[in-house]
């Protein structure tokens, strides 16, 4: 009898955790896509304009335009295919390591006018410091 109460407690905890995970997903899910995939998704399903997505790509060289520290525009292209690219608008402070040709992850919404409204921009700097020495030599 006493033990059964204990097991009810255990099951209760398990259920609450499962519930939290389940509902947490609905609220915080973001699709992780490459620019090519994003274009394909948007083409087949219009609602992809409204949901949060995270896109990783490379900043197109010379595409950056800024107005002050809080307004930035640049283009992001696919790592594999240069023709798949889109414009990004970002109204916050860019990370320190942002520059031309860096790999970035932009998170936000791909608007219907074809501009990606980013809420966060992250740069991936790890690879920079493991750069190929051959590139240096060549």
């Amino acid at each position: 009898m006493k033990n059964s109460r204990f097991y009810i407690g255990l099951v209760g905890v398990a259920m609450v955790v499962t519930f939290l995970i389940w509902t947490g997903f609905d609220k915080a899910m973001v699709y992780y896509l490459t620019p090519v995939e994003l274009m394909a998704k948007v083409a087949e399903d219009d609602t992809f304009h409204d949901i949060g997505v995270k896109v990783s790509g490379r900043v197109v060289e010379g595409s950056y335009e800024g107005a002050g520290a809080f307004e930035h525009y640049f283009s992001v292209m696919d790592l594999a295919r240069e023709d798949a690219s889109f414009r990004v608008e970002y109204r916050d402070i860019l990370p320190d390591t942002f520059s031309d040709e860096t790999e970035v992850v932009v998170e936000g919404r791909f608007r219907r006018d074809g501009v990606f409204e980013a809420t966060t921009v992250l740069t991936k700097c790890g690879s920079r410091y493991e750069a190929m020495p051959d590139e240096m030599a060549g």
């Binding site: 033990n3 955790v17 699709y31 992780y32 030599a137």
Partner: protein
């Protein structure tokens, strides 16, 4: 000397394989000579890895840029201090460092037990050397050899990532590695208990201090990492739910669970299988964490470069280790039956079990969220990630329940607690929690989670204070000591209990600090010298920051702009804050050095976000002083670091060697002495 280090790395692998074979064969055939040889190979591998590490450090100090690793993480301009810590700055070196620490702890464990617990030792040595051999194999055969040479000798290195040139960053990874590697020892003893079939609580008594040591390092490693993120990453936060951070949190969660469930087995002879599973799980998670940072398998901002070969090797090792652990546990299933069952729902063991379950639930949620991009890609074809919102949503309620348990656990008695006693013990803390809520509501605080956190903090602190007071009073009465002396003796007599309670106090302080995050304020403003930035603090103060100007200067390895701000609060001048941007010669982008003015109540966090006219500012022209700032007010952040210090104090008390740890007596009471003492 560097070549000798490289040579030592190659010798270490066959020596450790020799040790594995001899340890297991010697253990199986009961051949003491083979086991002695295996134990000696543990010391030998440690010695060889010292040579290897020395070789790497000398390569850094001697500026041998023909080594790819040195070239990638150092430059002539780098300070000597960072050259020495270059040993663990990058992937290759940090793997060597990992094995160095592992063999150090293995050697300590073997030496400690040279006369004790002998029947465990063959398996312990075998397991520890297997882990060592795996990492040595990775180092030598997975394109991560730190001694790999470039086809030419560059004149200078690439330099160390400026964000890593920070005090916290030099001590954060080693502390974390100390935690990861030292957990291999309890794991090895757990496996040895399974292999030898001596699955009683003896292996727990032997490894208790090791577990605590590992937990201590893990905790500090995580806190140092938070401190680094806060001071160096320049966005005012300390935790991000980044995969790499999650990876270090996972073993911490399961190790914390293990630390508590061990006590149930000690006291009640229950949960043998659970404890063995937890020790295995924690070990596997330490390997997983090491692997996640190195594989690039999951997108992370601060992971090392992608290397898929390493990913497969680690996955294979993880799979094999998991399989072996499961097999061993199932094999000994019958020996692992509980001696007793839970007697009552209202008992400390039941509270501990809840704590375990919740910690595991949280670990599962974190693991699931971290791996979700992989899982969804594997099953649905699209990568779906979950953001910090997911982790916060799941872990904040879980964290609050755990916080409450840090107070409930100490009050509930073992075996069964009576309702009447519970009511008596819980009434004052509950009243305190209500008073905290009422007080904060009157002061104008809203927000469910913040109020709940502070209420639970009040609840737990009241309980812990009462515990300390009751214990002190009881001891003062029994021993006739003064209160101060009684208090110190109380802690010294049962260091694990009271050290543990002090750790709980530290956890409470940290949670109070976390709750402060609900009241962040942020102001972005573009200013000219003489302009003011006004920031309201949640306590009703107003900070006024007056921009003084910009000054640029250069040192051999960087340009820097320093912006000066005068700070006053409610009209009273407090001092100055400087915020910087730096451009290191080895990197082309600016790095922000934030200015922080910390008080116990709140931090003022100033980021120099941009300079309007770079060229002019470089020449220090008076017309080019315009700058953009972000000013953040971060309430209670300091409490996280104070809490960390309290946790350190508590764990050191619990760890302190000598008498007082209740189970460390080795001298047996002989019948004669019992007669002398008792009759």
């Amino acid at each position: 000397m560097i070549l000798l280090g490289e040579f030592a790395l190659w010798v270490a692998l066959p020596v450790s394989i020799w040790g594995i074979v001899l340890a297991f064969v010697g253990g199986h055939r009961k051949r003491g000579d083979l086991v002695l040889s295996a134990e000696r190979s543990v010391y030998a591998v440690f010695f060889l890895l010292c040579l290897t590490s020395l070789g790497i450090i000398l390569a850094f100090l001697g500026e041998h840029y023909e080594y790819r690793y040195v070239w990638g993480y150092s430059s002539r301009e780098l300070e000597t201090y960072f050259k020495v810590t270059g040993l663990w700055a990058g992937q290759r070196g940090s793997l060597v460092f990992w094995v160095l620490l592992l063999t150090l702890f293995s050697s300590i464990a073997v030496f400690q037990n040279r006369r004790r617990n002998r029947e465990f030792m063959p398996s312990v040595v075998g397991v520890l050397l297997t882990i060592t051999a795996f990492f040595l194999g990775v180092l030598l055969f997975a394109d991560v050899n730190p001694f790999e040479r470039l086809p030419f000798t560059p004149a200078n290195g690439q330099g160390l990532n400026p964000q890593l040139q920070n005090y916290w960053m030099t001590i954060h990874p080693p502390t974390l590695y100390l935690g990861f590697t030292s957990f291999s020892v309890p794991f090895a003893f757990g496996i040895a208990a399974l292999v030898t079939g001596k699955t009683d609580s003896r292996w727990l008594v032997v490894t208790r201090r090791w577990t605590l040591l590992s937990w201590f390092f893990l905790t500090n490693g995580i806190i140092f990492g938070m401190r680094w993120a806060y001071e160096e990453l320049g966005w005012g936060g300390y935790w991000f739910w980044d995969p790499v951070e999650n990876a270090s949190l996972l073993p911490w969660l399961t190790a914390t669970a293990f630390l508590h469930s061990v006590m149930i087995q000690e006291h009640r002879g229950m949960l043998k299988m659970w404890n063995l599973s937890l020790v295995s799980l924690t070990f596997l998670l330490t390997i997983f964490a090491t692997f996640l940072t190195r594989s690039g398998l999951i997108e992370s901002v601060h992971s090392f470069a992608q290397n898929t070969r390493i990913a497969y090797i680690f996955l294979a090792f993880l799979g094999a280790a998991t399989f072996a652990c499961l097999l061993l546990i199932l094999w000994r299933k019958d020996d692992l039956r509980a001696e007793r069952t839970i007697e009552s729902f209202l008992s400390r063991e039941s509270a501990f079990l809840m704590n375990n379950l919740i910690l595991l639930g949280s670990a599962f949620a974190v693991l699931w969220g971290t791996l979700f991009p992989l899982i969804s890609e594997g099953f649905a074809g699209t990568k779906v990630a979950v953001g910090p919102a997911f982790f916060n949503r799941v872990n904040i309620p879980i964290g609050l329940v755990l916080l409450a348990l840090t107070g409930i656990g100490p009050v509930i008695a073992w075996r069964r607690a009576t309702r009447r006693n519970l009511e008596r013990n819980f009434l004052p803390p509950l009243l305190m929690a209500a008073a905290v809520v009422a007080g904060l509501m009157i002061a104008g605080m809203r927000g469910f989670y913040a109020l709940a956190t502070f209420a639970i903090c009040g609840f737990v602190l009241t309980i812990l204070a009462t515990e300390f007071w009751k214990g002190t009073r009881a001891r003062a009465r029994i021993e006739g000591e003064g209160l101060g002396k009684a208090f110190l003796h109380l802690i010294a007599r049962n260091r694990r209990r009271w050290g543990g309670y002090i750790v709980h106090v530290g956890i409470v302080l940290m949670f109070a600090g976390f709750a402060g995050a609900s009241f962040h304020t942020e102001i972005d403003q573009s200013v000219e010298p003489g302009d003011q930035i006004r920031a309201a603090s949640p306590y009703g103060h107003e900070y006024v920051l007056t921009y003084q100007g910009l000054s640029s200067s250069r040192t051999p390895n960087m340009w820097q702009w320093v912006a000066l701000m005068d700070v006053s609060r409610d009209g009273r001048r407090l001092g100055t804050i400087t915020a910087e941007q730096r451009i290191y010669s080895t990197a082309d982008q600016p790095i922000r050095e934030v200015g922080i003015r910390s008080t116990p109540l709140e931090d003022v966090y100033v980021i120099l976000a941009g300079v309007e006219d770079f060229e002019g500012a470089l020449r220090n022209e008076s017309s080019a002083q315009g700058a953009v700032f972000q000013v953040l007010v971060r309430p209670l952040v300091g409490w996280i670091w104070y809490g960390g210090l309290v946790i350190t104090l508590g764990s050191l008390i619990a760890l302190w060697p000598g008498a007082g740890g209740p189970a460390r007596r080795k001298v047996r009471a002989t019948p004669a002495s019992a007669r002398l003492a008792g009759v």
